[in-house]
Symmetry: C2
Subunit: 265 residues, 2 copies
């Protein structure tokens, strides 16, 4: 069968893939993988190849962005081809262009979903899914932007939580830390003085969602800024209004101080 199947690897390690994704990989004629859009800290290519019984060819950003993924498209013209992507294949839009190109060239495509950091973080936090507003990425300091601060402010005004993804350059092993992200938000606060990020603002930091040892810590900004979250990847949630069940969960599973109870609206 000539086709291109986009398969999500899920989170953290080689066993984050679904049973379905593994089946697709085992029955493929050619298997490609990219590992530059997200960080899977405990992933071993050797163990993954043993698990799926196939050789996996690593694809670089250059292969996709400059060469248009031609090596993948050529393989998909002669046999079943699997392209493995960390997380879910299309939660980020990086690979949409490749899928459109494939279809234009008459190659059938399918999607096998993977676990996305987006849902894992919401799940770990215990915060109510339908109370999240717009998501935002906090960039590295050399790309400084007021947007994350403004999005948090807009969400808070509506009582909504903000999921902040923290910027990363996987191939250069650079990860914006939770502490750095907080400091950037504080810097915008210093300029704009809108009271959106104060020392008593509540935040939830999450490291290594999807790993066996994720770190989850809810606290006031003034304390959280000094908390050691260990190794990446990192995310940050700035909650809006809190329901008492959300506070219960933050106290039970994110080490929130007992006095969070006074925050319940």
């Amino acid at each position: 069968m000539k086709e291109l199947v986009f398969v999500g690897l899920g989170l953290n390690d080689e066993k984050g893939i679904t049973a379905k994704g593994l089946d697709e990989t085992r029955t493929a004629d050619a298997v490609f993988m990219e590992n530059y859009t997200s960080c899977m800290p405990d992933f071993s290519l050797e163990r993954f190849e043993a698990l799926c019984g196939k050789r996996v060819q690593l694809i670089t950003r250059r292969d996709l962005e400059e060469e248009g993924g031609i090596v993948i498209l050529q393989a998909a013209k002669v046999g079943k081809t699997v392209f493995l992507v960390p997380g879910d294949p299309f939660i980020a839009t990086t690979h949409v262009a490749l899928r459109i190109d494939a279809e234009k060239q008459g190659i059938k495509t399918r999607v096998v979903h993977g676990i996305s950091i987006m849902s894992a973080i919401v799940s770990l936090s215990g915060l109510h899914n339908y109370k999240f507003g717009k998501t935002v990425t906090v960039p590295f300091p050399d790309n400084f932007s007021e947007t994350p601060y403004n999005v948090i402010g807009q969400n808070k005004k509506l009582g909504l939580h903000t999921l902040c993804l923290l910027d990363l350059k996987v191939t250069e092993n650079q990860y914006l830390s939770i502490n750095q992200a907080i400091k950037l938000l504080q810097k915008v606060e210093e300029n704009k003085k809108m009271g959106i990020i104060t020392p008593d603002t509540v935040a939830v930091g999450i490291a290594r969602a999807g790993a066996n040892n994720p770190i989850l810590k809810a606290d006031y900004i003034k304390s959280l800024v000094n908390f050691d979250f260990g190794e990446p990847p990192f995310s940050l949630i700035i909650p809006g209004d809190l329901h008492f069940m959300e506070v219960d969960t933050l106290i039970a599973f994110a080490g929130a101080p007992e006095d969070f109870r006074r925050l319940v609206k």
Copy 2:
């Protein structure tokens, strides 16, 4: 090892679980599962038991809500216990109370994530993840509410997309259809006349996300209301402002009419 591991089953069928989740199930002393919070249309308990090599005990809503999940807690006090949940175990907050009770009784708990409908739908739609606002559930007509209409309006004002989950009663095999959901929104429009849901409003209907044959259709409300989406489960997205890449993807993979191009902002 005495512990309670919450494992996500992911979407659609018995192979939506991760390799990690399957390992946890294979090494458990007791395995429980609930199948009333979400619909997994192609799931076979028999095939799943063959896959994991364990007997799986089905848990009802009554077991959890009236009995407090005591049968699960008792098993977790004597051995490794896995509780299987459709999708991700904690994207809905249904099972948070059980986890809190377990920890209070000195039972260690862990989470193995599963693919959530939340991320699969965003991924399938090709719409940009960071442009989604608050999510909302459209209830059955006997629970009529203006909330979904208001949330869509609030998101649109900010240029944001709205993911509408459609209500379901799995045990009674009742699913709000995409067509019914649109009609409910139209009914609110008739009363409120705010121009949020007009015949030319754009919408994306999705049936069976996570299955091998998901149906994805983007069109104007006036056409979509008559589209046959087949079997459940269903979801609906009402987009806000559209980027040209989003329109490209809707045309390529959701059968959107070519004149969607005029909508690009």
